[in-house]
């Protein structure tokens, strides 16, 4: 079994209420979208899936191995992580940051070139990372994660809002890159705030409600429905057919015409 399995995990930051309580979830290889209101615990759950947050109870297993117990170098060969906001302290250039994805792996220049080309930043490779815009920095981080997983068929990519700073064209491009990883046999789990993107692009969906409860998970078409969405967000949703595919639109936010 190649997927990620959560067995009754409870996640908590020191001396506070649990963010997630006894959550069980199985993610098969494929593209999974995680959706839920602000503060529902998506980021914490993703950190646990990436082995970066040790559960207080339960375990997250990858091929039967608890991810938070793996040695960092070993885990890096199987799981890559894209945080919501990346930060780099020193004045490294873009290429060096992407190459850090190969920290625990043999460095291959063509892998790094391909990853940079994938996010359309090959021409900025020699510039300091910190001189880039937030959206470009986010793409550098995605390129680093993809470089890290290059050659690891079945590797896991955990991404926290990878589209948050992307314009529509780059959002589509990034989703294409994630899809490419899935087609090579990988597993992607990404928190997304755009329900339509989640519905159209993902194979599977995970819906969390505030308080960190798992509302439902399963095939994306069965998860991102007006009924479930209303239950999680407390506003009505319309499922609309458009020439580009189905769209899930919230009702509350529209201006009266």
């Amino acid at each position: 079994m190649n997927g990620l399995v959560c067995e009754g995990i409870t996640l908590r930051y020191e001396r506070s209420e649990p963010v997630i309580s006894s959550l069980s979830l199985t993610l098969e290889p494929g593209l999974w979208a995680m959706v839920g209101p602000n503060g529902a615990g998506k980021s914490t759950l993703l950190r646990a899936l990436a082995g970066l947050h040790a559960p207080e109870a339960g375990r997250v297993l990858l091929k039967g191995e608890p991810v938070h117990r793996m040695a960092a170098r070993h885990r890096a060969t199987r799981i890559a992580y894209v945080p919501q906001r990346s930060s780099v302290w020193a004045g490294f250039d873009v290429r060096t940051i992407v190459a850090m994805g190969r920290h625990a792996l043999p460095r291959r220049d063509e892998t790094i070139e391909r990853a940079l080309d994938g996010v359309a930043l090959l021409d900025r490779a020699e510039e300091p990372y910190r001189s880039l815009s937030v959206g470009q920095q986010q793409r550098v981080t995605i390129a680093r994660a993809l470089a890290q997983l290059d050659g690891s068929e079945g590797g896991v990519l955990v991404a926290d809002e990878p589209l948050s700073a992307q314009d529509p064209a780059f959002a589509a491009r990034v989703m294409g890159l994630l899809r490419g990883h899935v087609e090579r046999g990988g597993l992607v789990v990404a928190a997304l705030h755009d329900c339509t993107t989640a519905l159209r692009c993902a194979d599977g969906g995970v819906l969390l409600s505030s308080g960190g409860t798992l509302v439902t998970s399963g095939p994306a078409v069965d998860t991102f429905t007006p009924g479930w969405m209303e239950r999680v967000f407390g506003v009505g949703f319309d499922l609309v057919r458009t020439p580009g595919g189905p769209a899930l639109l919230p009702r509350g936010a529209t201006m009266p015409l």
Partner: protein
């Protein structure tokens, strides 16, 4: 850098080359001590700046210097109580070592979170331990006659003394080279540690172990330098910045460059104090490094805007 260091050091103490063997050996002692002290402070500074992700981190942040200072006054005071006299010779080795490792150990233990030193706690605990040691130092100074103050005052400004025992000198110099090489092997990990904690871990850095090892190496290097020359200001802060201008942000060669820059700085400063004669004897080297280092740092800061 090596060339600069050697040239200036040989030209020091009057501009003539020495023509007697014993003078050569005295100068060799000075040069070895200076290079070792500068390397140690520079590399320790580079390690701490990397793991704390703070361009203002310096080796003295670890509380070790104030601890050593406390060791010096306590030893002076105990000698005074026992013999009724203040010994004006250099501070005893064991007092410096006990003081520095005591303070380092305290800072290391108190800044632990989940088994590893945590950056923010490390800075705060380091400052607090330093302040406490300094306060105790002042208190003990008050219990002694004025010459007791003088011993500490001379020590605290730093000096590269030709009186250092040969064994101590070569042991510390050897340990400094070993520590520098060890730090260089951590280069790739230190580079990746420039990422946020989660990202560094996710690309395969054992962050806890890296921090613990770095603090340990930095502590040992600094203790060695304090043993040879007392606390010398600014070298540990500036050498990494100078090196970064030459070698870029990468740590493997950055640490090598920092060691060279630090060594050169201290030997230059030592040549300076040997050259500038004041009526009361040699000026303490720490005074010179601070006078030159302060403006130099401001200049770097303005040149780079972002350090």
């Amino acid at each position: 850098m090596i060339a600069i260091a050697l040239r200036f050091s040989i030209g020091s103490e009057g501009f003539a080359l020495p023509n007697r063997a014993d003078v050569w050996s005295l100068r060799l002692t000075n040069v070895v001590a200076g290079v070792s002290v500068g390397m140690a402070l520079g590399v320790a500074g580079a390690l701490l700046q990397a793991i704390l992700r703070n361009p203002l981190a310096s080796p003295f942040l670890l509380g070790l210097t104030s601890g050593a200072g406390l060791g010096v006054v306590v030893a002076t005071y105990i000698t005074y109580l026992a013999t009724g006299a203040i010994l004006m010779s250099g501070p005893p080795v064991f007092a410096v070592l006990l003081g520095s490792f005591g303070a380092l150990g305290l800072v290391y233990l108190l800044s632990q979170r989940r088994g590893t030193p945590e950056p923010t706690s490390l800075v705060l605990v380091g400052v607090i331990v330093s302040v406490c040691c300094a306060a105790l130092t002042s208190f003990i100074q008050h219990l002694m006659p004025d010459q007791g103050m003088a011993v500490y005052t001379r020590w605290v400004m730093g000096a590269i003394s030709a009186e250092t025992g040969t064994v101590t000198l070569w042991t510390v110099a050897g340990a400094t080279v070993a520590g520098t090489l060890w730090a260089m092997t951590l280069g790739d990990d230190l580079d990746a540690a420039a990422l946020s904690d989660d990202e560094a871990r996710s690309v395969g850095v054992s962050l806890g172990r890296l921090r613990a090892v770095s603090v340990l190496i930095a502590g040992l290097l600094t203790a060695g330098s304090v043993l040879l020359a007392g606390p010398i200001a600014f070298v540990g802060l500036i050498a990494p910045h100078l090196a970064r201008r030459v070698a870029g942000p990468g740590h493997r060669w950055g640490i090598c460059a920092t060691a060279l820059a630090g060594g050169a700085l201290v030997v230059l400063a030592d040549s300076g104090v040997a050259f500038i004669r004041t009526p009361s004897g040699r000026m303490p080297i720490g005074v010179l490094t601070a006078i030159i280092g302060g403006p130099l740092f401001i200049w770097l800061l303005r040149r780079e805007r972002e350090l």
